[in-house]
Symmetry: C2
């Protein structure tokens, strides 16, 4: 059984816009919205605040399309999440709360009625990350009620969230009760970018026409890096060491900048006195999807996870990619493109020093363990 489990493919970074959500986006007149462009033969486009819109189709709302895509690539299980921008754009807390509850029920149903995995009686093909009504003005009680609701939905294994919290980012003291509540569950928090550099984008990207290359290629990963660093700097992971965080796009630039940030912290008594461990220890306690585009990046992220043992306040032996592989999980990314899936599988396959057991774990075993799939 154990060997079989390790050979499953589990995709933890794959998105949907459930029918209820897609319908809402079609009704809107401002981004985010879904628009039919007649000149393109009725193709649908998602306008999401970036310079150009992305084509969008039934793979986002039709479960059969999702399963077809999974079958095409031998993906056994997908842990599906609503794609950005989630509920961030809503302005009424009561609407956001109600919609979160409805969409969480929809997603539970989407997963619960999905086929089982061949040979694994208790495992479904689909699981999900729920949504919280994280908008300005929402009450703490509403957030905690939604967390409680999600914990009662057996096929939802976590929540996906953006970087803005209730308007002031993830280091907002108002979120403290939320982190505490989440740390008392097994839910995995999937942190995902949407805003890039926000108000700094115009200056940072300059005047030349580069489409979405800079905002998606640099802005997105830097947004994730900044958001999780700000949360680390509050000491949240000393107060809630059981919080389970999954970082989109392998943490963006966090692995490469973690030692530099650690150095900056060590020069600032105000900040360093707030933290029990070196920055690199916290970084090694997160989970990272495999959406990092290359075997060098993949191995490096695993090295950075593995070395974290040496940065605890009670340091152990420094590990590397042969221990760090345990926290990297296959993801295929937003676009559900075959080339992307093949590229990611190839990258996993090409990591120097990884044996089949490490690759099997990253392709599925780690996710089965983390999310307790089939239990």
């Amino acid at each position: 059984m154990d060997i079989k489990v390790r050979k499953l493919l589990v995709d933890v970074h794959t998105h949907c816009y459930l029918p209820r959500y897609a319908a809402l986006l079609r009704q809107r007149t401002l981004p985010p919205r879904i628009v039919s462009q007649n000149q393109e033969g009725h193709q649908l486009f998602m306008y999401n605040g970036q310079k150009s819109a992305s084509p969008i189709g039934p793979q986002y709302w039709d479960r059969n399309e999702k399963l077809k895509f999974m079958n095409l690539h031998d993906i056994d299980v997908s842990i599906v999440s609503t794609a950005n921008p989630w509920l961030d754009f809503l302005d009424k807390p009561s609407t956001a709360s109600q919609l979160a509850n409805e969409l969480n029920e929809d997603l539970e149903n989407y997963c619960a009625t999905s086929p089982g995995v061949d040979g694994f009686d208790t495992m479904k093909r689909l699981y999900g990350f729920g949504l919280l009504p994280l908008i300005e003005g929402i009450g703490t009680e509403d957030l905690l009620q939604t967390v409680k609701h999600i914990t009662g939905l057996p096929h939802l294994k976590g929540i996906i969230m953006g970087t803005r919290g209730v308007g002031k980012g993830l280091d907002d003291p108002a979120l403290e009760p939320l982190w505490e509540a989440l740390s008392n569950t097994k839910l995995v928090v999937f942190l995902h970018p949407h805003y890039g550099l926000g108000s700094g984008a115009k200056e940072a990207w300059g005047d030349q026409e580069n489409g979405n290359v800079l905002s998606l290629g640099i802005g997105f990963p830097v947004e994730t890096t900044t958001a999780i660093t700000r949360l680390i700097l509050t000491g949240a992971f000393d107060r809630y060491p059981n919080l389970r965080i999954l970082l989109a796009h392998s943490g963006g630039a966090l692995p490469q900048l973690s030692s530099r940030i650690a150095s900056c912290i060590s020069h600032d008594p105000l900040v360093s006195s707030r933290l029990k461990h070196d920055m690199r220890y916290y970084v090694s306690k997160f989970y990272y999807d495999a959406v990092n585009y290359g075997p060098e990046e993949m191995g490096f992220v695993a090295d950075v996870i593995g070395r974290g043992t040496a940065y605890s306040s009670t340091p152990g032996m420094r590990g590397d990619r042969l221990t760090g592989y345990k926290r990297i999980l296959l993801g295929t990314g937003k676009e559900a493109k075959s080339a992307k899936v093949l590229e990611t599988l190839q990258a996993i396959n090409d990591v120097q020093r990884w044996e089949e057991e490490h690759k099997d774990a990253v392709r599925g075993g780690n996710a089965i363990e983390l999310f307790g799939l089939g239990q």
Copy 2:
């Protein structure tokens, strides 16, 4: 001789504020400025637009202090550059041009009259990166004249510059003649950050008090990453393949984001049609200082350089850190702190799979070759 050369220590990232420059900063009433704080016992502080000022002392202007620091750490040669913010804050082009020329002459004198390296008759202990008057309104002719002046100063081996060019960044078409002129010299362009996220900082760093941790830990490396990416996206390195670029702080987040950026480019025909090679090829043609704070980062940067051969439009065999080490050069960073030097030397020493020959090259051999020291 060859073995001896490889054993020298050469520091390519170390700064000065020459006496003429420090005097100017002491006269100023707005940042950047050097201020004596009486309550701190006449200690001098550099106010540079960050939240807090840094203590600053004679190691920045007194050459004997620089040499003492080098002796302390057995650094044979330093290639000294004016620290940020260079001449960026000046508003009169004629002042900037004149000061650039004077400071370049000062630096030439600082280096030319320095002691020789024991046992290497023709090699000095100090070489330098000159300055260009890169401010808004400067004429192309003034920039080209300064380049020409620097090429006539035998101990200046390159120029240091920030990310703003003449006000619109490094992808400004107005800089085209400058890149062309530089590509016809052997000067190395040392690209260094100063502004972090600029106007986006307030939103990105949020309301909590984190000193300079976010602006220096994330903002600086992201600034370098964005600036060089924007220059790559103009196709500059297809037009001027001989341009020699040295990236501060090992390129910031560029190595980890290069494959993601390459993926974004491949989805944008407008941008990809402008470029002859995959993003990762250009990335592999730069030089990187060793200021990356850890053996995992060091090895990863070398892997990313090494693999670049596979991303040429006429791909060769994919290399790794055993070929990529050739473009990493010892640097000690701004603060001239002993702990930092020891940490960097330790990181070089601890890179997995590197033999002594690779480490010797990074510690000095690569710089001797790149800058033609002692020739």
